[in-house]
């Protein structure tokens, strides 16, 4: 995967995102209850899945750093987590818009995924604060890796907790109608998911290249 050149990825992202937008906004049929404005849900789900994948990738790279002492793994883990947070914020934004459309409020506590991403955002924001309060070196890499792993364990644990909490906070007043998977709807989903994944990977590669350049520059300067 590393061998796919960046311009190819960028072009693919552009094409796929355009295709996805076209499918979502022009081709897929209206949702039975919510009409045209529900379409953001396609992207909301794709972005959420991508964010999870980024956090997972970050944790995987973190494990490689701690276990195999892979020299690039620390930077790759950091960039993956960074992408995860960016897409996580997008989840919160798209989720908020969708909540306003569906229920008239910019925020609802009854949406498990939304609440989960809020908790994860808090955690990974602290991850960045941690990383920036330690000088670059083996310890910073180790600490970042450890917390990337903590984060990934926090995902299922928090999800479980939040699901348990829903019966505490308030009964399920709002029910969400999931889209029926038929025809163009499925196509729109798949394309938007692939588009977001490719976009995320492109951004990851771009940022990683930039960071590697920074590191190289610093090494040259110090030599």
């Amino acid at each position: 995967m590393r061998r796919i050149p960046l311009p190819v990825l960028a072009t693919a992202s552009l094409v796929l995102v355009t295709l996805a937008l076209a499918l979502v906004f022009f081709v897929a049929p209206n949702d039975a209850d919510q009409g045209f404005s529900q379409r953001i849900f396609y992207f909301h789900v794709s972005i959420a899945f991508t964010a999870y994948l980024c956090f997972g990738a970050g944790a995987w790279k973190a494990l490689r750093h701690l276990w195999k002492r892979d020299p690039r793994a620390d930077l790759e883990s950091y960039v993956a987590v960074h992408q995860g947070v960016i897409f996580g914020v997008l989840v919160l934004l798209t989720g908020s818009i969708w909540a306003k459309i569906s229920w008239g409020h910019w925020w609802v506590w009854s949406e498990n995924q939304l609440v989960l991403f809020l908790v994860l955002f808090l955690f990974y924001a602290a991850y960045f604060m941690l990383r920036f309060s330690v000088d670059p070196g083996p310890q910073r890499a180790n600490l970042s890796a450890v917390y990337a792993l903590f984060g990934v364990v926090l995902v299922p644990v928090s999800f479980l907790a939040i699901r348990l909490s829903q019966s505490l906070i308030h009964p399920q007043v709002f029910t969400r109608h999931g889209p029926n998977f038929g025809g163009w709807i499925l196509a729109a989903y798949i394309v938007s998911q692939v588009a977001v994944l490719v976009l995320a990977y492109t951004l990851y590669r771009v940022e990683l290249a930039g960071k590697l350049l920074d590191v190289r520059l610093r090494e040259l300067r110090l030599a």
Partner: protein, 193 residues
């Protein structure tokens, strides 16, 4: 016992150690000299295993329980008594005949009378002498001393001289100092940073 090639250590953008080669054989007495800020402390910490190198290779052929480090700080708990401090380290290092050994060291370094007083009440010289007790407690094979004479009073310095003379040849020493005269007669090799 210690072998290092191209050892380096960075703190952020500051390079503290660079391209250091070091060879210390069993029973040797290696002295590290250099001005303040030349990385002597960092080198010693790397050898002791408290920090990881940023680059290069380091092999230390001794397990952690046979290493003794005398650092800039005495590494004793001020709110505990001398006896309690040494008890703790004695347990952690699984020192055989712990009580006797602690008693012997406290007496040798003139701290027996003050053994039940909290370290917070000690003078600087006494604290450093206690630090020496801590270092020698588990009879380490490799003694890493970071500017050992700095905080010692006259009595302590004499005791240390006697101790070094006694152990020289039987134990391996890595000593940093910015006043090499004192230890030069004992040294088998010198590294300048």
């Amino acid at each position: 016992m210690i072998a290092a090639r191209g050892l380096g250590r960075r703190f952020g953008d500051k390079r503290v150690l660079r391209g250091v080669d070091l060879d210390v054989a069993d029973g040797a007495f290696a002295v590290v000299t250099g001005p303040n800020g030349s990385g002597k402390t960092t080198l010693l910490r790397l050898v002791a295993g408290l920090a990881l190198p940023s680059e290069g290779e380091l092999h230390v052929d001794v397990t952690r329980e046979r290493i003794g480090l005398l650092a800039h700080d005495p590494l004793v708990y001020r709110e505990l008594t001398a006896l309690e401090n040494l008890e703790l380290y004695g347990r952690l290092y699984h020192v055989p005949e712990r009580r006797e050994r602690i008693g012997m060291l406290l007496e040798r370094f003139g701290l027996w009378e003050a053994r039940h007083e909290r370290v917070a009440a000690y003078s600087r010289g006494m604290t450093q002498r206690l630090a020496l007790c801590r270092v020698l407690l588990h009879d380490p094979q490799l003694l890493i001393l970071d500017e050992p004479y700095t905080a010692l009073d006259a009595q302590g310095a004499e005791l240390l001289d006697a101790q070094l003379a006694e152990l020289r040849g039987e134990r391996t020493f890595l000593v940093s100092t910015h006043d090499p005269q004192r230890v030069r007669r004992l040294a088998t090799s010198e590294l300048s940073l």
